[in-house]
């Protein structure tokens, strides 16, 4: 039995949900066990949803994992607000090549 549990823990620790910040299934389980139970606070604790993909790759997977570990159905969990820019943009491009201060 303990061998099976070890194998399951190993799989959870190697199952990466957020590719930007390497957040695993085990990280979500640990966050919930610690007492972080809201997608907003799990976002702040693990940095999931906040990498260069801004949740476009990971949101569904992370919300499903939060649902598995909290018992709250995924469709009852609010996905954290997506912030601009939609895709990462170089500061120089946003600055428009301006060389002067004003």
């Amino acid at each position: 039995v303990s061998g099976e549990r070890q194998a399951a823990e190993f799989r959870r620790s190697r199952t990466v949900l957020c590719l930007c910040h390497d957040v695993t299934e085990a990280d979500i389980a640990d966050a919930v066990a610690e007492g972080f139970t809201d997608p907003e606070t799990i976002k702040r604790y693990t940095a999931a949803f906040m990498g260069p993909c801004q949740g476009k790759w990971c949101a569904r997977l992370v919300l499903d994992a939060i649902a598995r570990h909290t018992g709250v159905p995924a469709d009852k969990l609010r996905q954290p607000t997506t912030r601009p820019p939609v895709v990462p943009v170089r500061l120089g491009a946003l600055a428009g090549g301006r060389r002067e201060l004003s």
């Binding site: 606070t41 260069p52 500061l91 120089g92 946003l94 428009g96």
Partner: protein, 405 residues
């Protein structure tokens, strides 16, 4: 529950003190009250702890200000920051590798001579730095916009969410009850005494009520019949993708209204401001600030022009006419206390909690918070502080705020 330390149970019907707002101010105060033996304390928040400005600020920490009232309060805080992880038994990821205030013009640099003498007289670890020294502290900085500066060796930054969680856990462990998702509907005042609060989860009687409600502090004060002379304004910040470490020090460039640091993960995090404050009730980032941040940071540190912005967000503050906090008792309502009006509230929270707790427990107002009482704003006796990134608010603060979105 939302975060460790928050409770899922019902709020009690009475306690010794109710704190409205589970941001860094309210939680630091709760922890410091518990440290002094007052543990029957309830902290309420309409959302989850740290959901307001405490989780949206620039995270910077210094005591290198220009005026004595600011230096005294913030230097008490800086001392506390250095031991905070140990006191809370929680790593708040404080990094004390320096804070550099950058002058962008020779006039600005000259004006700081007197400030440096005052800081030295108070015992701050600040020194004048040349543009060459700044180029070592911030590799690749454009020295045309950094002609000199002032470096505080033991300033720095900390992780704002970890600070909220650290205070919440330590306070909860000492017996404080933290109730998220609980909205205060009324503050009870009988005659000249605070009596408690009415919430959407029941009434709580308490002889001490503290308004630590951040952007909502004006509305909360109004529930107690107190007019708080603050205006709600929006601030914006951004974060880039991670890059190789190139600056250990936190920075601000007063002349171009900018501040930033590089996190332990390598991201460049910073914010800028336009010439006028932005009265608003919206948490959306705006296009003018997006462009302003990109423009100023890629001019100040040209290597950033090739680095991608990942995220841009906004937060709300309640600001006063002199940009200082409103801290301490409300003279006409016994038992009602304020820790509001913060623009530099994250870095000041350890001292504000410590000194306000001392004031509440002993009944004697602390010298460090006395200059920041509500009476100064009512009398128009403002505290002049010249080293702030924020622009003086030209309109009178008490005129209320825009409706926002």
């Amino acid at each position: 529950m939302a975060i460790p330390g928050a409770t899922a149970g019902d709020p009690p019907t009475s306690c010794d003190a109710v704190i409205i707002g589970a941001g860094v101010q309210g939680l630091a105060l709760a922890f410091e009250l518990a440290e002094r033996g007052m543990t029957d304390v309830v902290v309420l928040d309409a959302r989850f702890p740290g959901s307001g400005a405490s989780g949206r600020n620039g995270e910077l920490i210094r005591s290198a200000f220009a005026s004595i009232p600011w230096i005294r309060l913030f230097d008490r805080s800086l001392r506390l920051w250095h031991d905070l992880s140990a006191r809370l038994d929680y790593n708040v990821l404080f990094v004390g590798r320096g804070y550099t205030v950058i002058a962008s013009t020779d006039e600005e640099m000259t004006s700081w001579g007197e400030v440096l003498s005052r800081q030295a007289a108070y015992g701050l670890r600040t020194r004048r730095v040349s543009s060459d020294e700044i180029a070592e502290l911030v590799r690749g900085i454009n020295t045309d916009l950094a002609v000199g500066g002032l470096h505080q060796a033991d300033g720095g930054f900390a992780h704002h969410d970890a600070v909220v969680w650290g205070y919440a856990r330590a306070a909860a462990r000492a017996g404080v009850a933290i109730h998220p998702y609980t909205t205060v509907l009324d503050v009870l005042v009988e005659g000249d005494r605070a009596r408690g609060v009415v919430t959407d989860r029941g009434t709580i009687s308490a002889p001490i009520v503290v308004n630590a409600a951040g952007a909502q502090s004006r509305e909360v004060a109004a529930l107690a019949g107190v007019e708080l002379p603050v205006r709600r304004c929006r601030l914006e910040a951004m974060v880039t993708e991670s890059l190789m470490p190139f600056m250990d020090t936190a920075i601000s460039a007063i002349g171009i209204h900018s501040y930033a640091h590089q996190t332990s993960r390598g991201e460049f995090v910073g914010g800028t401001e336009l010439e006028q404050p932005d009265p608003s009730n919206s948490l959306r980032g705006t296009q003018p600030l997006l462009f302003d941040m990109a423009h100023k940071f890629s001019l100040l540190i040209p290597r950033l022009a090739g680095v991608r912005m990942v995220r841009h967000w906004a937060g709300l503050v309640s600001q006063t006419e002199d940009m200082g906090p409103v801290l301490g008792r409300v003279p006409e309502v016994e038992g009602l206390f304020l820790t509001c009006g913060w623009l530099y509230g994250f870095m000041a929270a350890p001292a504000a909690g410590d000194q306000l707790a001392e004031t509440i427990v002993t009944g004697r107002e602390s010298d460090l918070i006395a200059p920041f009482g509500i009476e100064r704003l009512r009398a128009g006796e403002l505290v002049t502080e010249t080293s702030l990134i924020h622009r003086p608010d030209q309109a009178r603060a008490a005129t209320g705020d825009a409706t926002g979105e």
